[in-house]
């Protein structure tokens, strides 16, 4: 399975992704420049974390106009796997490939810590080797990680089984804090 990692000007986690694919899961991986217009030959594309175009306007706002994003949209439409982490997730929402948007953290501070995720569904290509309800201890780090979507959109995401992970306490209880699905959040993109 061949992976591609997109580099935008301002991406800074592309080498983490490259390392994870090459050294941890041992699959072929190549970098994709943001000005590339073809994703031919790739099976999965990762949009890594960072600060694409400096994030000055809004996180991910300018990255959606990169030539590669048209190719990513076509790729996703044809059933290609697209995986957005942190800033990459924000870019996918800005580009309209994922619903909702990311706001500033409620406490306005950059959040950097370990927390727990509970696997809500194993019926995605990203989680099909995991157990339903399996807990993961994962680091987060972001300033704009407060996911927002209209109530109707949230309901649709829930009903479609598109909540892949949920933030929980160490014993698996849902956290009350509205925390932030980035850096470690997976975007499940399935073919229509």
């Amino acid at each position: 399975m061949k992976f591609g990692v997109v580099i935008f000007p301002g991406s800074n986690c592309e080498h983490d992704c490259y390392y994870a694919i090459e050294s941890v899961i041992g699959q072929p991986v190549e970098f994709i420049w943001h000005q590339d217009t073809s994703l031919k030959g790739f099976d999965a594309v990762i949009l890594p974390g960072g600060f694409a175009y400096g994030d000055y306007l809004r996180t991910g706002a300018l990255a959606k106009f990169s030539p590669v994003m048209k190719a990513v949209a076509d790729f996703a439409r044809k059933g290609g796997l697209v995986f957005g982490i942190c800033n990459g997730f924000q870019i996918l929402t800005e580009a309209g490939l994922l619903p909702g948007a990311l706001l500033r953290n409620v406490g306005l501070k950059y959040v950097c810590k370990f927390l727990h995720l509970r696997t809500e569904t194993t019926e995605t290509p990203y989680t099909n080797l995991m157990g339903k309800g399996q807990l993961l201890r994962i680091p987060i780090g972001h300033g704009d990680g407060n996911f927002f979507a209209e109530a109707e959109t949230l309901k649709r995401i829930e009903n479609n089984g598109q909540v892949v992970f949920r933030y929980v306490t160490a014993d698996g209880q849902i956290t009350r804090i509205r925390t932030d699905p980035v850096r470690t959040c997976l975007a499940a993109q399935t073919a229509n």
Partner: protein, 80 residues
Amino acid sequence: MKATVIVTLKPTVLDPQGMTIHRSLASLGLSDITDVRQGKIFHMRLKDGLPPERTREQVERLAKEVLTNPVIEEYRVLWE
């Protein structure tokens, strides 16, 4: 010609920055202020002699498609 684009969060969207400013104002004794919402302003200066209709259209498009995320924000354009 000058255009000003004002981008604000939709009323239904939580504004942590506005809320924090509001709390700070209250602690300064400005308790008559009942709500604060923070937004962004873009001041744009345009070349002289441009066709007004087309220019307005282009600035509107910029405001709508680039400066605003329609999921969370709304905008107004002011002209002078």
